[in-house]
Symmetry: C2
Subunit: 450 residues, 2 copies
């Protein structure tokens, strides 16, 4: 457990040792690190060194390191291993992580690996579930107990069968039809008298999810109820898997990143150093969509070309109309989208939100409208110009409030992620209506503006 700067230093050391052929020493350094750190170093090594390291470390050590990586990183690191080598490593991995890795490989390779693995029965069923559902992040349940066992018996049973189990947070108590009837936390087990039965200490009011529950929902349930693990059951309450708290933080960060990127109009899981074609693929389509909407704003302006020809000074105020409207709309829209994502508001709050935001927009509009109007008057020495731009700003900020509330709500209603598309519509609304109002007023009062 070291800080990022140290990881970089140790990477340099390990890399030099491997270059110099001092493999044993390099391996020693890696073995002393937490897998969260050694996995970062492993990933940064050259492909050649990666294979050297993976062959020298035990399958369990390798499995621990791989489990700290993203799916695509895992797949990259293991690509030069033989089927036999990789199957041994997969056997040591948590089933959900093994399934994630297999999901990255080709169908043929996956089949060969499952054939070769010893514990494929834990992993194969997980391949059927989409990655972003409870099924995609759950592990095959193990430590399952019967309710008439005593605490002491349960501990002896665990010692015998599950000594190497990492995700041991709760014990799951099943009836003879393998239906989940209760859970016992390790805390309750430790605090129980040795002769108490699980039946006496178990919690029967168990929150469960289905395999197709969205992973974000699962993460929020775990967080809301401060749980360390959540059982996944089928329609008949048979236990089919367990999602544990380890995964929650990653999921919530992933979802936050996705929302942030969607708000900035970047698709998919962009990373700063994604291959160029993927970077372009995740951003250019949005620029093209925006080009379309910008031409819409553009044609509004073109409609008033005659007015601008008569009073070219109007053009100078266009960036202010577009800028302020866009910014105010983005503020409202972002607060709406985040509140929807965190479950703080519902569709039924639309009117209340609208009233709130229109009030805020009115105050902003008065302050900004008066300021811009006054500056315009003083700058260009034309009071009518000040009036026109001032009123246009007020109108534009009200449009920003309306669009900022209504567009996310409408998208939510249509079951489209508001973060995905609100930005395009909100800025189109503020641009088109903002320019229309400003240049329309200017056309009406053109005699005073020339």
């Amino acid at each position: 457990m070291v800080d990022p700067v140290e990881v970089q230093e140790i990477f340099g050391q390990v890399s030099s040792l491997l270059d110099a052929g001092e493999t044993a020493e390099a391996i020693n350094i890696l073995q002393d690190l937490h897998p969260a750190d050694s996995s970062e170093i492993l990933y940064e090594l050259s492909a050649e060194h990666q294979v050297t390291v993976l062959r020298e470390m035990t399958d369990e050590e390798t499995a621990d390191m791989l489990e700290e990586m993203d799916e695509d990183e895992m797949a990259e690191v293991v690509q030069n291993l033989s089927v036999g080598e990789l199957a041994d490593i997969l056997d040591e991995m948590e089933p959900d992580m093994a399934a994630d890795l297999l999901g990255e490989l080709g169908e043929e390779q996956t089949a060969a690996l499952l054939e070769e693995m010893e514990e494929s029965e834990d992993v194969a069923p997980l391949l059927a579930y989409p990655e972003d559902t409870a099924g995609g992040i759950m592990n095959t349940p193990r430590h399952m107990l019967r309710r008439l066992m005593t605490a002491a018996q349960a501990m002896a049973f665990l010692r015998e069968h599950y000594a190497d189990e990492h995700d041991l947070y709760y014990l799951y108590v099943l009836d003879r039809h393998r239906r989940l009837v209760g859970i016992v936390s390790l805390r309750a087990l430790v605090l129980a008298l040795p002769e108490q039965t699980l039946d006496e200490i178990m919690d029967r009011d168990v929150l469960t999810v289905r395999a197709d529950t969205d992973q974000e929902e699962v993460a929020r349930l775990l967080a809301r109820y401060n749980l360390l693990a959540l059982p996944v059951v089928d329609e008949e309450d048979h236990l089919v898997g367990l999602v544990s708290v380890d995964d929650v933080v990653d999921i919530l960060e992933e979802e936050a990143t996705e929302d942030i990127y969607r708000l900035a109009q970047v698709s998919g899981d962009a990373e700063i150093f994604s291959p160029i074609h993927r970077a372009v693929g995740s951003r250019l389509p949005w620029l093209v969509v925006n080009m379309g909407t910008a031409f819409l704003a553009s044609s509004v302006v073109a409609f008033f070309e005659g007015t601008i020809a008569q009073a070219a000074l109007l053009a100078a105020f266009m960036p202010i109309v577009a800028g302020q409207g866009g910014n105010a709309g983005t503020q409202t829209m972002t607060i709406m989208i985040r509140s929807l994502a965190l479950g703080e508001i519902e569709l039924s709050d639309t009117w209340r939100a609208l009233l709130h935001e229109v009030t805020v927009g009115l105050i902003h509009g008065l302050v900004i409208g008066l300021s811009v109007g006054l500056i315009a008057w003083l700058w260009k020495g034309n009071p009518m110009l000040g009036m026109v731009i001032g009123v246009a700003m007020l109108g534009n900020l009200l449009v920003a409030s309306l669009a900022g509330v209504l567009i996310p709500m409408l998208l939510r209603r249509l079951k489209i992620d508001p973060a995905l598309a609100s930005g395009v519509f909100v800025t189109t609304a503020t641009d088109v209506l903002g320019f229309g109002l400003f240049l329309g007023l200017a056309t009406y009062y053109i005699a005073w503006l020339r």
Copy 2:
């Protein structure tokens, strides 16, 4: 454990029962819920009903509900209780939550409450730490054991002294100077043979933090190393507190929300239904800053007023210049900011990021420049107009790439949060340089544009 819609329904039920004076039944319903749910209902009730409910429920039940709320929500709910009543409830709360609540109250009231409390010695020391540090989120450590105890003795000890301890994840093993020498997970304790000593099963390589460590750093460490709790120690390794995994998810969501809001130029912890003056206070200052930068762009356009007077059709293309430049700049900037926040890149990656983004910007610029140029040519029937706007778009998208990388990196270097101010500078850069390039080129080729 019910879904949000159900919570709303139950709220209606509870509220009507309280109106009808059927308090016992209302309390029954609340007692059957998970505190995460009943606390929401409690918060929504009228002040009068809140007092009724709090007086009917046990101090422990009330404490559990309060612990699910934010600091300001807690303070609101308890405002009508007497010092004696509140002190009893505070005694039942987790010390870190009790400290958070006291932090919301006045100095005088806090002193009176601490005087009245029985367990004030657990809470008082926590009041000294800033809210967003490890000290502000830690709890006073309890279950501390000696290393020569056996597993069986440790369990008996826990049963005797800590049967009501919620946050029981690890046992902390201290030497006779109360210095932390190791930790034992509950999992290790359960799997140990009863006669093994803690010394044999404890983990000596313990990651610790100081009380002044930033809460975001603490949350990331817990997440990175999949820990359930993290000990907080002073300079001499004395254990002073424990941060547990419950807090991590809230912190990470809080930090993600803060980043999202900062990117959208909303300050502080805005919520959709904040009081109007707070909503305006968190947004209007940003609009004013943007007004300043918009006037900068505006004066660039004003500089070319003569050109626009000769060829008013140029004004129609200004929204496209501003829009595409702003969008592309925001895309790059957002990816940079998120990558910095997640620790995926460092300052030393500036050149690599610049090269990557300029390549992406070049491709975007060629595609967008050619498209806009072609459309402009066909729309207005003027090939020179197409050339001017096309070249200007290419230039503007390259500016967007440069600004999108360099501005966040510069702010990080100056130790200013990049999320806070990048947006203003990036759009100023794309607006000013974009308009300058477009209108500058147009001025040069004005003979072909009239």
